[in-house]
C-alpha cells in the first residue's frame, strides 16, 4: 500500500484531483481494484496466448477421468431445499440485532440481557414451531 500512497503523492496529481473535485481517498481503492483485476487477468491471458492448444473429445469432457456426465449443470434445484432456505433467511437476519447488542453489552447491562433474552425466546418459539411442524425434515 505504501507504493500506491507514493504514487498518488505527487503534487500534480493532487492539483488535478482538486480541479476535478473528486474525493482523492477513493483513488487508492480504485487503483487497488485495477491492480487486482490485472493480477487475475494477466496469468489467464498469458496461459491463453502462450500454451499450446490441441483439443480432443476426451479432453473436452467435463471430467477427463471418471464417470461421464449425465446432463447439463443447469438443472433445477431440489424443491426440498426451499423450506430450509426460507427458514435460513429468517433466522440468519435476526443476528442483525445481536451484533449491536453485543457491542454495547456493558452499557446495556442486565436490562439489555433480559431484553435480548425475550427477543431470543420469541425466536425460539418460532424455531420450535418450525421443528415440530417438520419443516426441517427431509421432504420426499
Amino acid at each position: 500500500m505504501e507504493f500506491i500512497k507514493t504514487l498518488f503523492n505527487f503534487p500534480q496529481v493532487h492539483e488535478w484531483l482538486g480541479q476535478a473535485g473528486y474525493p482523492a481517498v477513493y483513488l487508492g481503492a480504485l487503483a487497488g481494484a485495477v491492480l487486482a483485476l490485472l493480477i487475475a487477468a494477466v496469468p489467464i491471458l498469458m496461459s491463453v496466448c502462450l500454451s499450446p492448444s490441441r483439443p480432443s473429445a476426451a479432453k473436452k469432457a467435463a471430467y477427463e477421468c471418471g464417470v461421464p456426465p449425465v446432463g447439463t449443470a443447469r438443472e433445477k434445484q431440489m424443491v426440498r431445499f426451499y423450506v430450509v432456505a426460507i427458514l435460513f433467511v429468517l433466522f440468519d437476519v435476526e443476528t442483525a440485532f445481536l451484533f449491536p447488542w453485543a457491542v454495547a453489552y456493558d452499557m446495556l447491562g442486565l436490562f439489555g440481557l433480559i431484553e435480548m433474552g425475550l427477543f431470543l425466546a420469541i425466536l425460539i418459539f418460532g424455531y420450535v414451531y418450525a421443528w415440530k411442524k417438520e419443516a426441517l425434515d427431509w421432504v420426499y
Binding site: 452499557m107 446495556l108 447491562g109 436490562f111 420469541i122 418459539f125 418460532g126 420450535v128 414451531y129 415440530k132
Partner: protein, 496 residues
C-alpha cells in the same frame, strides 16, 4: 459513555400503556405452543383462548381509557383517546371475524391455529399503527399488519383464486410499502427527524420544495394503497374476490382503520401547518377519484364480494373527505369536526361491513353463491337473514336510521364547515349512485322469486355476530352520542 443507564429510557409505564398489544403477542405465542402440544381433540381450546385474549385486550383498552395523551418508549408510541378508539375498532373487528369464521374454516379445510395466530399478529400491527407517533413505528406497524394479511389472503393453498389474490396483494403491497419507506427516508433526510411532533416544528420552517413534494407524494401513495384510494386501488377488487371471506371482512375494516388513523395523525399533527392546503389538494384528487370510481364501477358488478370491494373503495373516499376537512379549521356549529366524524364513520363501517360479509359466509362456501342471483328471494326462504342484510346495505348507503347515515352526515357536515362544499356535494351524489347498487341487491332479495338451491351454513357464531352487527347498526344510528363524544375527546387529545 459513562453514566448511561438504559433504564432512563424505558420504564414500567411503557409496558403498562402497551399492555393490550403485548397481551395479544403473548396470546399469539401461546396459541403456537397450544397448537403443537395439544392433542387434536382439544384444539377447540385455541378458539377460546383467542376470543379470551381479544376480549381481555379490549377490556384493558376500555378500562385504561386515557384522559390525556401519554408517551411510551421515548415517544415512539403515544397512547391517547384517538389511538384507543382505533384499537377498539380493530379489536371488535377481530372478535367479530373470529366469530364468523368458525365453520367457514372447517369447510374450507383451513388450519385453524395458524389462521387465528396471523389474525392476532395482524391486529397487533394495526394497534401499533394507531399508536405510532414516529414514522418508524408507523412503518413497523404497517408491515406487521400487512405481512400476516398477505399469508391470510393466500391461505387456501389449493384454491387458485386465493393464491392469485395473495400474490397480487403481496407484490403490490410490497411495492407500495417500498414507496412509503422511500418517502420516509426523504423526509428524514430533509428534516433530520421521524418523530411526528418534531416533524411539525421542522416542517413549519421548511418551504415546499421539490424533494418535499416527492416525499409527500410517496407517503400519500403508500397510505393510499392501504386505504385502497384511487389510483392505488387496483388490488382491491381482485383480493376481495379471491381471498377467504373472513379475511376480507377483517382486512376491509382493520386495514382501513389502522392506515387512515396513522395517515390522519401524520397529516394533522406533522403536516397541519402552513402548507396544509397544498397537501389537502393532493388528497382531494384521491378522495374524489375514490368516491366516483368506486361507486360507479360497483354498479356494473354481479359478484357480491366484488361489489363490496368497489364499495370499499368508495368508503375509502368518504374517509379521506373527513381527513381533508380536519386539515382546515372550522366546523358547522354543534357538529363534530372532520377527524371525529372519520372515527365515528369507521365505527359504523365496522358493523355494517363485517355484517355484510357475514351474510356472504352464511350463504355459501368460498367462490360459490356469490352472485346477485343467489340472493334471489332470500326474503322468503330466510326472512331474518334478508332483513339484517338489508340493514347493513342501508347503513352502507347511508340511509337513516342506521349508523352509516350518521357517519356520512357528520363527514359531509364537517366538509361543508371547512369550506369544501363541492367535496360534500360529490359525496352526496356518489352516495345516491351507491343507493342504486346496494338496493339492487335488496331488490333481488325482496322482489325476485327464490332460487331452487339454498344450502345455508349457519353457526351459532355467525348468528351472534349478525345480531350484534344489526343491533349496533340500528341502535347507534339512533343514539350515536356516546361514541361521538368518545371520539371527540380522543381527537382533542391529539395535540396533548
Amino acid at each position: 459513555m459513562t453514566g448511561f443507564n438504559p433504564l432512563d429510557y424505558v420504564n414500567s409505564s411503557d409496558f403498562l400503556s402497551t399492555a393490550p398489544e403485548l397481551l395479544l403477542v403473548g396470546v399469539g405465542l401461546l396459541i403456537l405452543m397450544l397448537d403443537l402440544f395439544l392433542p387434536a381433540k382439544r384444539r377447540e381450546l385455541i378458539v377460546q383462548v383467542t376470543v379470551m385474549g381479544l376480549l381481555l385486550s379490549l377490556a384493558i383498552v376500555w378500562i385504561g381509557w386515557p384522559d390525556s395523551q401519554s408517551e411510551a418508549f421515548s415517544g415512539m408510541l403515544v397512547v391517547d383517546g384517538y389511538s384507543q378508539f382505533i384499537k377498539m375498532v380493530v379489536l371488535l373487528g377481530a372478535l367479530l371475524v373470529v366469530f364468523i369464521s368458525g365453520r367457514y374454516l372447517r369447510n374450507e379445510g383451513i388450519y385453524v391455529a395458524e389462521f387465528y395466530e396471523l389474525l392476532l399478529f395482524s391486529s397487533v400491527g394495526m394497534m401499533v399503527m394507531a399508536s405510532g407517533a414516529n414514522l418508524l413505528t408507523i412503518y413497523l406497524g404497517l408491515e406487521l399488519m400487512s405481512l400476516p394479511l398477505y399469508v391470510l389472503a393466500a391461505f387456501l393453498r389449493a384454491n387458485r383464486r386465493s393464491t392469485e389474490a395473495g400474490l397480487k396483494y403481496f407484490l403490490l403491497g410490497g411495492f407500495s410499502s417500498a414507496l412509503l419507506l422511500y418517502g420516509i427516508s426523504l423526509i428524514y433526510g430533509l428534516t433530520g427527524t421521524t418523530n411526528l411532533m418534531a416533524l411539525q416544528h421542522s416542517l413549519a420552517s421548511l418551504p415546499v420544495s421539490p424533494p418535499l413534494l416527492v416525499a409527500m407524494v410517496l407517503l400519500v401513495a403508500g397510505f393510499g394503497f392501504k386505504v385502497s384510494a384511487v389510483p392505488f386501488h387496483l388490488w382491491t377488487p381482485d383480493v376481495y374476490m379471491g381471498a377467504p371471506t373472513p379475511v376480507v371482512a377483517f382486512m376491509s375494516v382493520g386495514t382501513k382503520a389502522a392506515a387512515i388513523a396513522a395517515f390522519a395523525r401524520l397529516m394533522v399533527v406533522s403536516f397541519g401547518g402552513l402548507q396544509s392546503s397544498v397537501w389537502a389538494s393532493m388528497l382531494i384528487v384521491l378522495a374524489v377519484g375514490s368516491m366516483v370510481l368506486g361507486n360507479v364501477v360497483a354498479v356494473v358488478q354481479n359478484n357480491v364480494k366484488r361489489m363490496l370491494a368497489y364499495s370499499a373503495i368508495g368508503h375509502g373516499g368518504y374517509l379521506l373527505v373527513g381527513l381533508i376537512a380536519s386539515m382546515k379549521p372550522g366546523s358547522v356549529v354543534g357538529l363534530p369536526d372532520g377527524l371525529t366524524s372519520l372515527l365515528f364513520y369507521l365505527f359504523g363501517y365496522l358493523f355494517a361491513n363485517i355484517g355484510a360479509f357475514a351474510v356472504v359466509i352464511y350463504l355459501g362456501r368460498e367462490g360459490q353463491h356469490e352472485s346477485y342471483e343467489d340472493y334471489s328471494g332470500l326474503a322468503q326462504t330466510r326472512p331474518w337473514l334478508a332483513a339484517v342484510m338489508m340493514i347493513f346495505l342501508l347503513s352502507l348507503t347511508g340511509i337513516p336510521p342506521t349508523i352509516g347515515f350518521v357517519g356520512k352526515f357528520y363527514i359531509f357536515a364537517a366538509a361543508i364547515g371547512s369550506g369544501y362544499t363541492v367535496l360534500a356535494l360529490i359525496g352526496l351524489l356518489t352516495s345516491t349512485i351507491s343507493l342504486y347498487y346496494y338496493m339492487g341487491l335488496g331488490m333481488y332479495m325482496y322482489m325476485r322469486p327464490p332460487v331452487e338451491r339454498h344450502v345455508f351454513y349457519p353457526t351459532r357464531g355467525l348468528t351472534i355476530s349478525l345480531i350484534v352487527c344489526a343491533v349496533a347498526t340500528v341502535l347507534f344510528g339512533i343514539l350515536p352520542q356516546t361514541w361521538v363524544h368518545l371520539a371527540q375527546s380522543g381527537v382533542l387529545q391529539l395535540w396533548h
